[in-house]
Assembly symmetry: D2
Homo-oligomer: 352 residues x 4
Amino acid sequence: MGESDRVKVGIIGASGYGGVQLVRLLIDHPQVELVYIGGDSSAGKAYADLYPHLGHRVEMTVEKINLDVVGDRCDVVFLGLPNGLACEMVPTLIEKGCKVLDLSADYRFENLDTYTNWYKKERRDRDLAATAVYGLPELYRDSIREANLIGCPGCYCTASLLSVAPLLKQGLIVPETVVIDGKSGTSGGGRQAKTNLLLAEADSSLTAYGVAGHRHTPEIEQVCSDLAGHDVMVQFTPHLIPMVRGILATSYATLRDPGLVRDDLLTIYNAFYRSSPFVNVLPNGVYPQTKWAVGTNLCYIGVEVDVRTDRVIVMSAIDNLIKGQSGQAVQCLNILMGWEETLGLPQLAFYP
Amino acid sequence: MGESDRVKVGIIGASGYGGVQLVRLLIDHPQVELVYIGGDSSAGKAYADLYPHLGHRVEMTVEKINLDVVGDRCDVVFLGLPNGLACEMVPTLIEKGCKVLDLSADYRFENLDTYTNWYKKERRDRDLAATAVYGLPELYRDSIREANLIGCPGCYCTASLLSVAPLLKQGLIVPETVVIDGKSGTSGGGRQAKTNLLLAEADSSLTAYGVAGHRHTPEIEQVCSDLAGHDVMVQFTPHLIPMVRGILATSYATLRDPGLVRDDLLTIYNAFYRSSPFVNVLPNGVYPQTKWAVGTNLCYIGVEVDVRTDRVIVMSAIDNLIKGQSGQAVQCLNILMGWEETLGLPQLAFYP
Amino acid sequence: MGESDRVKVGIIGASGYGGVQLVRLLIDHPQVELVYIGGDSSAGKAYADLYPHLGHRVEMTVEKINLDVVGDRCDVVFLGLPNGLACEMVPTLIEKGCKVLDLSADYRFENLDTYTNWYKKERRDRDLAATAVYGLPELYRDSIREANLIGCPGCYCTASLLSVAPLLKQGLIVPETVVIDGKSGTSGGGRQAKTNLLLAEADSSLTAYGVAGHRHTPEIEQVCSDLAGHDVMVQFTPHLIPMVRGILATSYATLRDPGLVRDDLLTIYNAFYRSSPFVNVLPNGVYPQTKWAVGTNLCYIGVEVDVRTDRVIVMSAIDNLIKGQSGQAVQCLNILMGWEETLGLPQLAFYP
Amino acid sequence: MGESDRVKVGIIGASGYGGVQLVRLLIDHPQVELVYIGGDSSAGKAYADLYPHLGHRVEMTVEKINLDVVGDRCDVVFLGLPNGLACEMVPTLIEKGCKVLDLSADYRFENLDTYTNWYKKERRDRDLAATAVYGLPELYRDSIREANLIGCPGCYCTASLLSVAPLLKQGLIVPETVVIDGKSGTSGGGRQAKTNLLLAEADSSLTAYGVAGHRHTPEIEQVCSDLAGHDVMVQFTPHLIPMVRGILATSYATLRDPGLVRDDLLTIYNAFYRSSPFVNVLPNGVYPQTKWAVGTNLCYIGVEVDVRTDRVIVMSAIDNLIKGQSGQAVQCLNILMGWEETLGLPQLAFYP
């Protein structure tokens, strides 16, 4: 395919970790051409000043954000901005005919009151927001195919939802017993200089945070409720792990039918994810390590049943910055453009 | 106190990480004199060959294990051996008048059939084992004071039990809803050269193991049942964290009385641990970091209530090799000798 | 290119970290077909038992090493064996018409007495060894193109030599002043369960080893001497860094001409590596981070001059398992087959 | 000793990592009473808000800096401030009769022009500065004993100087050949939220910085010149290591007398440090690991000679925040008060 036939894509907000993954993925994607990088605090800087290791490949400069310019130049726009900013820009971009993939929380909620309640931001784009599709391909592939506006879920939600979706969809568990113990590398906190994310503080240590009140809880519950067919509340606790990348979600739930054994569940999981090239259900007795997924768009899932307690325990591992962020957005792009779902996405880790 | 008045102590099995902590603690303990280090594979070696950083302080040689010699020379013996070996030696040591603190699983079980079932070892010392006390001072301080033989609990059990003991003792939770998500640094696996514990494998990664079948489950359940007054089953899942030391237990349970709030529980925890100098219940909204406990015998506990789900979430952090192993044994020694409980034990971390 | 036109390649010794990188690279290489994996201790095992994360892509079984089978089935053979084993197998493989890329030290030495002196192995394949080419493409590209047998250099040598080659080749430094302070992640020690490579030992710590007597010294000196045109001795000290992958070589040398400034040297380095797609000489004042190279076949080089001391300091960063091992071998393969040098090799890291 | 007989000490600037070590050391020191903690940005906060793990032991509040109050209340003052601030406060404190231990660079330089040149700060306290003593007890113990004002050296200088002092003092090396390759954990960068010190950036990676121009160079050279008896220039290169604490200095130099062997040098080092309780010269063939020193005031030194190149290589390891900062200041305090030099200082690590 000639360079001129490629789809023109732009990124608004590319200075963070999600942004640099997107840049990295898009410059090697065979069907797109990265034509715009826009930002606020880093406008005017060479992108290689932010990420010197890319200097020999990326010669672009971060431009001031001008939506008219973006709309004219790009067919597709990715937004990697803090929560509450995308919803001010997306109406203009959509109006100008762009397809939009937003990596923030702005377009993930069906009920905008829930959004406003957790994110303290009033919304003026309710009609548009109602058209947004939740960008988790394994659950909403068909809707993504038809969408113009996609709210891509983040790392904790992706790992959590992929771990329990088959159970809820098939009605195999008691929904109110779901406990999700999430564990994330510190890159999930972004490229912001926060004291608690310093290596000196976060290395060789471990802590929970946002206990009983993390913002991802309502988002996880929205999709769980959709899968279960009725309102579901879950217990979600995130932890900060002394490593750069990777998320593990350990999910616990009580089985409705105590007769179900591990092999039954593996069969169900394999069937559920049969058409999902990035979900890898592990064989009997193998549990995922996060490092297997690092640098890829894969999700590894291990399933165990405790016959003593009638609980199922599901572990799912992803790279928080790829399948949990930028790779997922590219996967959504592939689907909505009608391309091969795996196009331009890394499918195998270097280990160790 | 003169050197000659000190209590003579020995260590059998001092080549591992638990052993070297014991050596380190005992050579600085003001009431004891370390007179014997015995081992099998390292017999005949200078202890400083195993741990060169101690060379300027420890000039002892590892001696072949000869129980007669140990019994003659020592008033108190610590055993830091793999499971299943202590029970072959302890009868002789007790007979020779030694007090014994065992760091393995051999003397932790009230029901030796449970032990044999999980550890695949038949026992011939049932009468003696029946006299052993579970060496968790915060729960069994009075019995420890009178004991000759103490089975000291390990790291996961200590962190887990201290997190839920007040809840079970006071009947505040539904016992069968207890889920304990344990997270440990890799030193818990000991100084054995296993591939999965190599830095190259375990660093920058995260995994669960022993899901639904870890040996510590029956031990945790034994004490939980004792506290609750009836048989209790819990869900316990250990995880390997990419750090050297430290354990965090995140424990979930459903409250019997949904009217209980965080302040109520903090009051209850503070009262429960009022006489326990090594348990530090954190104020409202503060959650423990494992690093706060590293290098000390402390246990930091944070308590949270989710009023939406009626669950309590308790986080407890310890140093797996001190409060979770060697320091706990020294704490037991202090109690059974009638000394200050904190004697010779580090009480404050260097941070970060 | 059809599957049937692909070059048939095999790997002997694929259970280690170098081996699994090779497997990972070769199954995605567009011009080769991996048809054989052979090993000794793991013969008969599914390769996915060794590396479960590859289970969905690699269904091969490790076969017993039978050189007749290998020779019949493979056009090209990679050897990833401990030092001293390749030289027993290569004569047969060459005789059977295979091209051979050896990752051990066996075919890196021009003077086999030096090899025998350091590796304690007598050699019976002197004629064949004399035909071997040193597989560092940036220095020996033309010879590699014509070779049948390539001794690929390892991680320390690659990082060290690329850092000082332009200086020695151009006669810019006093050779006997070269001090190379090498720093490597622990995966360089291989997938062997050694106590000192446990996470519990090696994490949060740092040490030198092999000081004044490391085996890579004579290998570095051989190439330095070749570049300088006369015998050169260098000071090389390796250090173990608490990370999985990556090597940094910090090289010091006294300039012959104290008038040379940084810009001069950058010009010289850029010219020297003009045709080397995997060497990236960084701009003025930018020093390499090892993480920039991790997961790629790149070498990043930073150059500094101290005008006070008349020394040049060069820092070079590579991924020890790719450019320092498996990727280098694939790069050599590409060259000797007449393919694009970068074919099938990762060229850009995911950061952070 | 009664609480009332204790020496009253204060800390100005206790919010950083050096400060919290000082607080930790001083509250357990048997001869002092910590009566004042002063700060600027954190004035008015409970100290336990900055470091919650100390909450059960430290109930002090950070006070606004008022030198009159400090002078009235304290016999001894430690200053843990950014460079350039101490020199504005110390004249007043000295005038009020306090003994002062400064942890910044302000009082480390004999030649204040050198200070001003590197730190961009004009000085108005030249007479006072001329009375300051360089607080490295192993080299200046006698002067410290008589001092009122001590400029305590930091981590890189301490590790570097202890590694080469015996060589320079005895004239064993060619001074201009000294190359010091320094490697530090990231806590050396302080508790400041800088992007490059985030775990996400600094973990699993390695880089040099300040090459050919680091501020510690002139400080190291000042003491080296003092030891050698003439002006000496050294090559010093710091590196950022992915760990929290610890520094290793690897020092290279050419021996004047190529006949010297390792045993000779070990004898010389042992003699040189005979009266230094915190320096531990390791036996033949043992090289220091930084972790051996972590949490202690120790310096471990290993010495090697390369008979091929006539170079000596010395490795020294310290805890950058204790022997490299706060512990060193307490060691100086002990000396100037006439107490046992080791009082209140940790002397043995917990390993691993």
